[in-house]
Symmetry: C2
């Protein structure tokens, strides 16, 4: 470490952290990226692992591998346990304290159960590869258990999949679930008819995909219903219990319940600021830095950043990625004696996929639905996927799933159930 | 279930069970295949998952998917807990008893620590996908920990990988480990030099690959040494402890210890016969059935089957596969009023790979080494892999690993450590 070079520490290897690092690659700074996991996950496709279309390895790249050509970047596999903002140090769980000149915190968000944390064991959320394989295990085991009971002449009862929350993740999970049941598994079972499985999507508010224009929300519901998903809007879940979900007095039997209803920022946010918002996000200035600590940038889902009109920027991969580049650029500019620029989000649009040839998309003022939106979704996600290898593999897996109506990654592997995990591990998982 | 049809129950979805099922597919019998896992694993490539070249999904297929076109075959995901050989019933853990007219037990084998079962926590063996991802996790974490210590200016100590047992699995693991260290990871780290890692292969007997002709054993050692693996023969491991392996008075520091030294048959063997051999295998007649229960066939690694000259057949996929077909054929012949045929093993040869362009092979009396043996190994394993999808994916992964000197599947995912697993789960894992 040459003494004259400034050191930038980046917390988190998601979209924000990774693109910040890439923007600092081979520049005259020393960079340390810290993440609790050794791999970057392409989160927009995580639901495809959960529904057995893709393997974990298809959507994840080792962070070291992605950054290997930048000799000025070191990667630490470690967990952040605290900050000394005045002393410019990060406290790590395994390693020694890490000194920084600039800090970029991109620790992301995790599920939120709005105070009902006990619901997590029954209704897992989808944020990590481990979440995805656990959800995959539950979905496949539900069919297996029903088959066994039916083969013994016993009544397996209803096979209901309840998805709570109809944002993009909830919509994508619901669409993929009905496709598995009606398309993929139909030939696999002898005693049950997987096509009889019900998929119920529950939304608290009056419409699905709240962040989307209203006509696209309506189109999404139409496309979901055409595929067989039951969509219930303005339905507030009051209780999640093993085997059922309550909406007030209504009891919905549920074989597998999945949670896609809310996120809250990493708990690192509270260690950085006393002024986090209701979702735990850290307020930042137009330059994405803390007002009291201009050397500390907060980006991605952890940041409460606003656009020029004072609107809160949404928790999208595209936002995190652009913020990562902007924070890096501000640091490099400042080191060369220049002045920081305010962050400007270039809106690339919104895209959610529902199923085979079913999607909704907004690009600027253009709204797309159905096949054309789906093709746009497919193309853009392939281009965005990090790493040549993953792109080719994912393409083949998708082509296979599409043409053969099969899902190759239908593996039930043993994992410790979420309820038995150390909660602190779960909480820290996204926290670098 | 039509009353006039006989029911064949198959225990285990490995090579033996799966090929028995396929041979009975669309024949005039009802078939139930029971396995504790929902997927068939292509075991000869398991070491490639453990060394991050392939993903679990690349070498595994859902059993239901493989058998979906046979309407007469049902698949149960369940665990066998006992047999009533007189009453012709199989006791299952989850489901009701299963009655059979014919039973084919193909429950395979698991690691054996020769009475030192406490070594398992320190030195995991390689039999399942979960074993493979746990071993992958340990290997990658060893490099990560060394990097962290070195980056802090502390001495990470030696980075030693010790593989106990130099059968095909041990040889393959050792070769792949040295390739990772010297080829794949070299660019990924900043503070350590992965190429300095040592790989030590320990063999109890005087030569590696004991089942192979002597000249091929010598060639294997030469090829391993040329790659940088330290091979120690006639070395009896007397103790496996965290961080070290003892060979008598010699202490070998070991960062990661892997066990490839022995297998013993599934504990289902003892439930079938009082006469199991030292490795727990069940003696069977020339028709592969129990002498006292001719309706019960035992095949694969669980069977102590002999060839015409009274030689014990080895624990190979090819043997299990042929035995599965033979048992099925004997059942069908008998149901048509014919007589059973004694099993004849058609020797397809022996093949073990060591690394890039390094392998040994015997086909009949032809012995091959180096590049040509490696090409033979590659071709044969691609052809054998079950399922079109996997074959293409594996080919791409390999081509990628070969030309780019990278390994795509370098993911460290959370799993419960082997030492914390319920031992009964571990024992039953292969037991269908």
């Amino acid at each position: 470490m040459r003494p004259e070079r400034k050191r930038v520490v980046i917390i988190g290897g998601g979209f924000g952290g990774l693109y910040a690092a890439k923007s600092l690659g081979n520049e005259p700074v020393d960079v340390v990226l810290v993440d609790h996991k050794n791999h970057h996950v392409f989160q927009p496709l995580l639901y495809q692992v959960a529904t057995a279309a893709l393997s974990p390895g298809d959507i994840a790249s080792p962070i070291r591998g992605v950054l290997r050509h930048y000799a000025n970047i070191e990667v630490f596999l470690d967990e952040v346990v605290g900050f000394d903002l005045h002393g410019h140090r990060v406290h790590l769980k395994e390693g020694a304290d890490l000194a920084y000149d600039y800090l970029i915190v991109a620790a992301g968000a995790t599920h939120s159960y709005f105070g009902h944390e006990q619901w997590e064991a029954v209704a897992p959320g989808l944020k990590t590869l481990e979440d995805a394989t656990e959800i995959r295990r539950r979905i496949l085991l539900a069919f297996e258990n029903a088959e066994r009971l039916a083969a013994e002449g016993r009544n397996p009862g209803p096979l209901n999949f309840v998805v709570v929350g109809a944002g993009p993740t909830g919509v994508e999970l619901a669409g993929a679930l009905i496709e598995i049941a009606r398309g993929v598994l139909v030939q696999d079972f002898r005693s049950i008819d997987p096509a009889q499985a019900r998929v119920i999507l529950i939304q608290r508010g009056p419409r699905v995909l709240t962040a989307y224009p209203e006509d696209l929300s309506h189109s999404a519901v139409e496309q979901l219903r055409a595929m067989g998903v039951e969509v219930r809007t303005s339905a507030v879940v009051t209780s999640v219990e093993p085997g059922l979900v309550r909406i007030g007095d209504t009891v919905i039997p549920s074989t597998v319940t999945l949670w896609a209803a809310g996120v809250s920022a990493s708990r690192l946010g509270k260690m950085l600021s006393a002024d986090t918002d209701r979702a735990g996000r850290v307020p930042v200035g137009p330059d994405l830095a803390l007002s009291e600590h201009p050397e500390v940038f907060v980006i991605g889902d952890l940041a409460a950043a606003k656009d020029e009109r004072g609107q809160m920027l949404p928790g999208l991969a595209a936002v995190a990625l652009q913020e990562g580049k902007a924070a890096a650029s501000n640091i490099l500019t400042e080191l060369q004696g220049g002045r920081r620029k305010p962050f400007h989000y270039r809106d690339k649009g919104l895209l959610a996929t529902i199923g085979r040839q079913a999607a909704v998309a907004r690009f600027g003022s253009i709204h797309l639905t159905g096949l054309i939106a789906w093709i746009a979704w497919l193309s853009i996600h392939l281009i965005l996927l990090i790493g040549f290898r993953n792109r080719v593999l994912v393409l083949i897996n998708w082509a296979w799933a599409y043409f053969a109506y099969r899902r190759g990654a239908r593996l039930i592997t043993d994992v410790e159930p979420i309820r038995e995990r150390d909660r602190s591990t779960t909480e820290m998982r996204k926290a670098g």
